[in-house]
C-alpha cells in the first residue's frame, strides 16, 4: 500500500512507469464504462451527455455534486492515512454512521441558541463519536489481535443497526412512518456558501486534505506512519511505538469519518435518516486509492466519484442506464488501480 514500497528501480523511472500504468488504468475504466452502457442496450454518447448534464448542468447541480463529494473526501483522507501506515481500515461506513448519530444527539439534545456554538458542538460530537468507533476497532485489534479488517467490517454492521435502533427509539420521530429523527432546529444547520452553492463542509474537507498531506510529509508522526507502513520492525527500531501509531491514526481517521457523517446530516438531510451512510465506506476506500493515498490528491478523486454519481442519477432517468453501473465502474476502477500500483506492476 505504502508509496514507499512501490519503488524498485530509480525514483524517476518509477514515476514514469507509475504514470503510464495509471494512464492505462484510466483508459481501461473509460472503455469499461462504454462497454457497460452498450451492453445494457443504450447509446454511450447520449449516456455521457446525460451524465454531464446531470453533474454540471446548473449551478445548483454543481453544488449538489460538491455536497456529495464532501463525505467521501473527509473519510477518504482518513483511509489514505491508515493505508499509508499499513492499517486496512474499512470501517469508514460505521464511523460515518456513528458520527451522524453523535451530531444528532448534540443537535437535538443540547439546544444552543447561537448557530456557531450549536454547529461547532454538533461537529465535534460527530468527530468524537466517529473516533470512539474506530478506536474501539483499534482496541480489539491491538489488545486481542482481531484482524483490523474484520473488526472494522463487523463494527460497520453494528453501527448501521445501532442507528436504526436509536431511530426506532429515543432519537426517532414518532409516527413518521420512516426511521428518521425530528428535524434539527435551524441553528444546527450547516450554512451554505453563497458563491458555489455548497455547504460549509466542503471547504472544511479540503482543509483536512491539505492538513493530511502536511502531516504525512512534514511531521515526525507522518514519517512514523510511513515507516510503519513499510516495515513494523523498522518502525520499532526507529524508536516509534507501533501500537501508539496505530491507535493515533485510527482515531484520526475515525474523527474525520465522524465529521463526514456529521456534515452529511447537518448540511444535507437536516435530520438523521436511516441508511444515510450506505456505501460511503467503500467510496472512502475508492477515493483514497484513486488519490494514490496522497491526501491532497484525494480531493480530485472525491470530486470525480461525487460528480459521477450525481450525473448517474440523471443518466438513469434520461437514458435508462441503471445507476448501479457506476457502482460496477467504481469497483473495477479500484481493481485496475490496485493492479497498476502493486509491486509487480512496477517492475
Amino acid at each position: 500500500m505504502d508509496g514507499g514500497r512501490l519503488g524498485v528501480s530509480g525514483a524517476g523511472s518509477v514515476l514514469q512507469t507509475l504514470g503510464a500504468r495509471l494512464g492505462l488504468a484510466a483508459l481501461l475504466s473509460g472503455l469499461t464504462a462504454v462497454l457497460l452502457v452498450v451492453l445494457s442496450g443504450h447509446d454511450p454518447v447520449a449516456a455521457v451527455q446525460a451524465l454531464a448534464a446531470g453533474a454540471f448542468g446548473t449551478r445548483s447541480l454543481i453544488g449538489a455534486g460538491l455536497d456529495r463529494s464532501t463525505p467521501y473526501l473527509l473519510a477518504g483522507v482518513g483511509v489514505a492515512l491508515c493505508f499509508r501506515a499499513g492499517i486496512i481500515n474499512i470501517g469508514a461506513e460505521g464511523q460515518i454512521a456513528v458520527g451522524g448519530l453523535g451530531a444528532t444527539a448534540a443537535a437535538l439534545g443540547a439546544p444552543v441558541g447561537s448557530p456557531v456554538a450549536a454547529i461547532t458542538l454538533a461537529l465535534i460530537a460527530g468527530a468524537l463519536a466517529g473516533a470512539a468507533w474506530s478506536g474501539l476497532a483499534a482496541l480489539l485489534h491491538l489488545v486481542r489481535g482481531v484482524h483490523e479488517v474484520l473488526a472494522t467490517l463487523l463494527l460497520n454492521f453494528v453501527a448501521l443497526l445501532l442507528v436504526q435502533l436509536l431511530l426506532a427509539g429515543p432519537l426517532g420521530q414518532a409516527g413518521a412512518g420512516f426511521l428518521q429523527s425530528p428535524r434539527f432546529p435551524p441553528s444546527a444547520r450547516l450554512p451554505r456558501l453563497p458563491l458555489l452553492d455548497v455547504h460549509l463542509g466542503f471547504p472544511l474537507a479540503v482543509l483536512a486534505a491539505a492538513g493530511g498531506t502536511v502531516l504525512l510529509w512534514r511531521t515526525r508522526l507522518g514519517f512514523g506512519l510511513r515507516v510503519l507502513g513499510a516495515s513494523r520492525s523498522a518502525a520499532r527500531y526507529a524508536g516509534f511505538r507501533p501500537p501508539v501509531l496505530t491507535m493515533l491514526v485510527m482515531l484520526l481517521a475515525g474523527a474525520l469519518a465522524g465529521l463526514a457523517g456529521a456534515i452529511e446530516i447537518l448540511g444535507l438531510h437536516r435530520r438523521l435518516v436511516e441508511g444515510f451512510s450506505n456505501g460511503f465506506g467503500f467510496r472512502a476506500v475508492t477515493v483514497a486509492l484513486l488519490g494514490l493515498l496522497e491526501p491532497v490528491l484525494v480531493v480530485p478523486a472525491a470530486l470525480f466519484v461525487g460528480f459521477m454519481e450525481a450525473g448517474a442519477l440523471s443518466m438513469q432517468r434520461e437514458v435508462g442506464v441503471p445507476t448501479a453501473m457506476v457502482t460496477v465502474l467504481e469497483g473495477l476502477t479500484v481493481l485496475y488501480v490496485l493492479a497498476a500500483t502493486s509491486r509487480r506492476g512496477l517492475r
Binding site: 514500497r5 530509480g10 515526525r220 513499510a230 520492525s233 526507529a238 524508536g239
Partner: protein
C-alpha cells in the same frame, strides 16, 4: 569416465555486474566436488542456474548425457538433481512426512502416508539420517531439518546432490555427522557438489576442489594437492590472505556496557538463560556461535526491541534494562541489526530518510537540513548512489550497510551493537565495515560484535564469547582463544 555433469562456459550478468564469466564445472558419479569462494564469488549463482532457478546468459549444461536448458526446478528434480538450500525450504507447520510427500509424484494423488513413512524410516537408517516422520518441522532443531532436506532429495532419486553452505547452521558435532552421510552417499555412486567457504570440511571430505573468485574459476585441483594456505590464497586473491584489522589500538578504559544475568526472549523462540558480560571503552567483544542460539534475542534485548524477563543492563553506569528505544538512543547506544531489509533500513525510502530514521525526535525534521546531512554522510562514508533522494532498495548490499553504519556511527555512540554486519557483502565492503568498527573502538566506544563466522569474529575482537542455547558457553581473550576450545563451546561443551 565421462562426467555425470558438465557445465560449459556459463555466463550470467546482473545489470553491469558479471557474476559468472565463462565458468566450467564437471562432476562424476561417486565424486564430491568442493565449490569454494568468498561471498559474492558466484558459487550460489552457478548452482541456481544448474537447478533452473536462474537462466544463464550463455553456456550449456549436460547432465547424464542429456542437455539441460530452460528447465524449471521441477524438471531439474525429475532429471535427478537435488538441491539443499542454505535456508531450508521446508513447510514448518507440516510434518516431516508431509514435507517429503509435497510435490513428489511417487506419493500418489491420494497420499500413501503409511508407505512413504516406512520409506523415510528405512532410507534414514541406511544413511544415518534418522528422523521421526510424524514430527512437526517447526519443533525440530536445524540439524534435523537438514536431514529432512537430504532425505527428500535422496528419496526422489537424486543422482547429483548440491549442498549450499550446508554447515553454516550446524554445530561441529553435527558437521561431522553430515560429512559421514556425504561419504556414504558417495559410496552409493551419488555425485555431490559441496558449496562452502570453510576450508577444513572441504579438505576433509571432497575429492576435487574448484575455487571461484569474482565469477571466474581461479583454481581446479584434486584435494590431495591442496593445502589450507593454497586454497585460502586462491579464494582471497593476491595479497589479501590473512588480512586482519590492524587498527591503532586505543587504551582500554572503564566498563561502558555491563550485562548481568539477562534472561528472556519471545515465547517459542530461543530463550536467553542468564547471559552476563561486560565491555570496556575501546574494546570489542566478539560473540560467536551457531545461528539460532540466542543471538537475535541477545542483541534485540540490548537494543530495546525485546523486553527481557530478568537481568540488568547498564550503559555507562545507567540502568537501561527497560528503557525505550528512544531512551537508549539518547544514552548513546547504536545498533546495526542483521536484518537490513526489514529492520535496519526502509528499502522503499530515500537515502536521506534512511539516514534520519533514528534521528532524535527533538531535532527538527526539515527537508533542507536532512538533504544536507545526507549529502555529507554520502561523501564521508563513500556511499555509491546517484544522490540523497535515491531509493535505498536500488543500492547494492554494501552501500545499504554503509547507510546503516553511517547513521549509527555518526552519532558518536558510546556503544555499538553490530549483528552480522558483513553478511552478504563483497570483500571490499566487508573490509570497510571492519575498518569502521576499528575506528570506533579507537575512539573509545565499546563494541559488541555478533557474527556466525568464527574467523571474522576472531579477526575483529579483543575478547571472544561463544553463545550456546541462550547462554555464554565460554569467554576468552583473543590471544588465548584456541580454535578447538571455541569449537567445543559452540557444540555445547562448557568452559
Amino acid at each position: 569416465m565421462t562426467p555425470m555433469l558438465q557445465m560449459r562456459g556459463i555466463v550470467r550478468r546482473f545489470g553491469a555486474v558479471t557474476a559468472l564469466d565463462a565458468v566450467d564445472l564437471d562432476v562424476c558419479a561417486g565424486q564430491i566436488v568442493g565449490l569454494l569462494g568468498e561471498n559474492g564469488s558466484g558459487k550460489s549463482t552457478l548452482m541456481r542456474i544448474l537447478f533452473g532457478m536462474l537462466r544463464p546468459d550463455a553456456g550449456g549444461i549436460v547432465f547424464k548425457g542429456g542437455e539441460l536448458s530452460g528447465h524449471t526446478p521441477a524438471q531439474a528434480m525429475r532429471a535427478g538433481l537435488g538441491m539443499i538450500h542454505q535456508h531450508f525450504t521446508l513447510v514448518e507447520a507440516m510434518t516431516v512426512l508431509e514435507n517429503v510427500m509435497l510435490g513428489w509424484p511417487r506419493a500418489g494423488r491420494v497420499l500413501r502416508r503409511r508407505e512413504i513413512s516406512r520409506m523415510i524410516v528405512e532410507t534414514g537408517a541406511r544413511y544415518g539420517l534418522e528422523v521421526d516422520p510424524g514430527a512437526r518441522v517447526r519443533d525440530l532443531p536445524l540439524g534435523r531439518r537438514q536431514r529432512v532436506e537430504i532425505l527428500k532429495a535422496i528419496l526422489r532419486g537424486a543422482d547429483l546432490l548440491i549442498l549450499d553452505e550446508p554447515t553454516s547452521n550446524l554445530a561441529p558435532a553435527e558437521v561431522d555427522g553430515l560429512l559421514g552421510v556425504l561419504r556414504r552417499l558417495r559410496q552409493d555412486g551419488t555425485g555431490i557438489v559441496l558449496i562452502s567457504h570453510k576450508l577444513p570440511e572441504v579438505l576433509a571430505v571432497c575429492d576435487d576442489v574448484v575455487v571461484l573468485r569474482a565469477g571466474r574459476v581461479v583454481a581446479r585441483l584434486p584435494v590431495a594437492a591442496a593445502t589450507r594456505q593454497s586454497l585460502a590464497a586462491a579464494m582471497l586473491g593476491p595479497g589479501m590472505a590473512g588480512a586482519a584489522v590492524k587498527a591503532g589500538r586505543g587504551t582500554v578504559g572503564a566498563v561502558r556496557l555491563s550485562v548481568r544475568d539477562l534472561r528472556g526472549g519471545p515465547p517459542g523462540g530461543m530463550v536467553l538463560g542468564g547471559v552476563s558480560f561486560e565491555i570496556r571503552a575501546g574494546e570489542v567483544l566478539g560473540v560467536a556461535g551457531v545461528d539460532g542460539n540466542g543471538q537475535i534475542e541477545l542483541v534485540d534485548s540490548l537494543a530495546g526491541l525485546q523486553r527481557p524477563a530478568a537481568g540488568r543492563i547498564t550503559l555507562d553506569g545507567r540502568d537501561i534494562t527497560f528503557a525505550s528505544v528512544t531512551a537508549r538512543l539518547r544514552a548513546g547506544l547504536a545498533y546495526s541489526p542483521a536484518d537490513r531489509a526489514q529492520t535496519g533500513l526502509v528499502r522503499g525510502m530515500s537515502i536521506a530518510d534512511n539516514l534520519a530514521l533514528r534521528q532524535d525526535r527533538r531535532t527538527p525534521r526539515r527537508r533542507g537540513l536532512l538533504a544536507r546531512q545526507a549529502e555529507r554522510l554520502i561523501r564521508e562514508y563513500d556511499i555509491r548512489a546517484p544522490g540523497p533522494q535515491a531509493v535505498a532498495a536500488t543500492l547494492s548490499g554494501g552501500n545499504q550497510q554503509k547507510i546503516v553504519l553511517a547513521r549509527e556511527i555518526e552519532r558518536a555512540p558510546g556503544i555499538l551493537i553490530a549483528h552480522q554486519p558483513t553478511w552478504g557483502l563483497d570483500p571490499g565492503a566487508a573490509g570497510f565495515v571492519l575498518q569502521q568498527v576499528a575506528r570506533l573502538r579507537s575512539a573509545g566506544a565499546a563494541i559488541l560484535y555478533v557474527a556466525s563466522d568464527l574467523e571474522e569474529v576472531l579477526s575483529v575482537s579483543d575478547h571472544v564469547a561463544v553463545l550456546f542455547e541462550g547462554r555464554i558457553a565460554g569467554i576468552a581473550p583473543r590471544a588465548e582463544a584456541r580454535m578447538d576450545q571455541l569449537g567445543l563451546w559452540m557444540a555445547g561443551g562448557s568452559a
